[in-house]
């Protein structure tokens, strides 16, 4: 019932929080750090970019993150081809000293949709190289089956396109993946705009939620990080506790026996 004292595991690590948080788009590095701390997230996503030897911005960022007591999940953001993603993943493994890789393979520059074909191929290659792959994917059940068939035991479907903040656009699809693959770790990534969206994803049975834009672009990212942490815990608890069934029409909550005289149907 209380996530603060229970743990779960994904990709060989045991985690306290079911929230994962991105490190991009915050108003300032300090704000980023405070938001991450406030979120109590156990996992932070990072990326790789060219280092300028003069400014050494990457080193500065990395020292910020290393001080936090979190697991790092590097991504392959921006990759458009399998070979790019594989090279990026290997470089990330060396720098971040982790086998975890959030595999992003973009199939469309406008919507930043994942490419199911490249994703499946790159996942297969990276699993063979010993990586633990977190594949960023659409909510297509058949793609999920294929990924599981090649040995992936983590799935990261979107709720809606990256950064759109529309919430879970197709709950039926997520519920289907959950039912079909009860053993897989199901993490929602992208498209979450509000804590209610994250709670909804968790109520559908997801194991965790990865947030970035909705926190970093909030009016107050630190407060919003707390809000998401609460919402994710709420959604998980609701899934475990068992939601009431929705009904088409009304049902009284107050009992109708023992009604006084004037309540009798006239």
């Amino acid at each position: 019932m209380d996530d603060d004292t229970t743990t779960w595991s994904v990709g060989g690590k045991t985690l306290r929080s079911r929230m994962m948080i991105g490190s991009a788009r915050y108003p300032s590095p300090d704000n980023m750090r405070q938001a991450i701390v406030a979120s109590k997230a156990s996992v932070v996503t990072v990326s790789l970019r060219r280092e300028n030897p003069d400014t050494r911005a990457g080193q500065a960022f990395w020292s910020y993150v290393r001080e936090l007591d979190v697991h790092v999940l590097p991504n392959t953001a921006g990759c458009h081809a399998v070979s790019e993603a594989v090279t990026t993943a290997k470089m990330a493994r060396e720098i971040f000293e982790t086998d975890w890789i959030k595999l992003e393979l973009i199939g469309d520059d406008y919507t930043l949709q994942p490419d199911p074909f490249d994703l499946l191929e790159a996942t297969t290659l990276l699993l063979a190289e010993g990586f633990i792959v977190f594949p960023y994917m659409t909510d297509d059940l058949v793609l999920a089956k294929r990924l599981v068939d090649v040995g992936c035991d983590i799935l990261m479907p979107w709720a809606a396109p990256i950064g759109s903040g529309r919430g879970v656009v197709n709950p039926t699809a997520l519920r289907l993946i959950r039912e079909r693959f009860p053993e897989v770790k199901l993490l929602v990534d992208a498209g979450i705009g509000a804590p209610s969206h994250a709670a909804r994803a968790m109520e559908l049975g997801c194991d965790g939620v990865l947030l970035n834009t909705a926190i970093a672009r909030a009016g107050d990212p630190v407060a919003m990080a707390c809000a998401f942490a609460d919402a994710i815990r709420a959604g998980r608890a609701a899934y475990t506790a068992g939601l009431m069934e929705p009904m088409e029409f009304a049902q009284a909550s107050t009992p109708t026996v023992g009604m006084p005289l004037w309540h009798e149907p006239s």
Binding site: G22, T87, K90, E94, I162, N212
Partner: protein
């Protein structure tokens, strides 16, 4: 000879190594991963991997990501 470093032309001494390049840039102790001509060069090969004229060298570091 000239190589391309992170997209910019740069003159380096002939047949320098990855390791030497990193030292020259004061990045040898840093969190840096290296690719030459789009292929990853692991840290264990930095000392032995010699660069050639025209090599495209990428030095990547940690960065914000979502």
């Amino acid at each position: 000879m000239q190589i391309v470093l992170n997209g910019e032309p740069r003159d380096v001494s002939d047949s320098t190594t990855v390791r030497a390049l990193l030292c020259e840039l004061h990045l040898d102790k840093s969190a840096i991963a290296v690719a030459v001509n789009r292929t990853f060069v692991p840290r264990s090969e930095h000392v032995t991997h010699r660069l050639a004229a025209g090599d495209e060298v990428e030095l990547l570091a940690p960065m914000q990501g979502g």
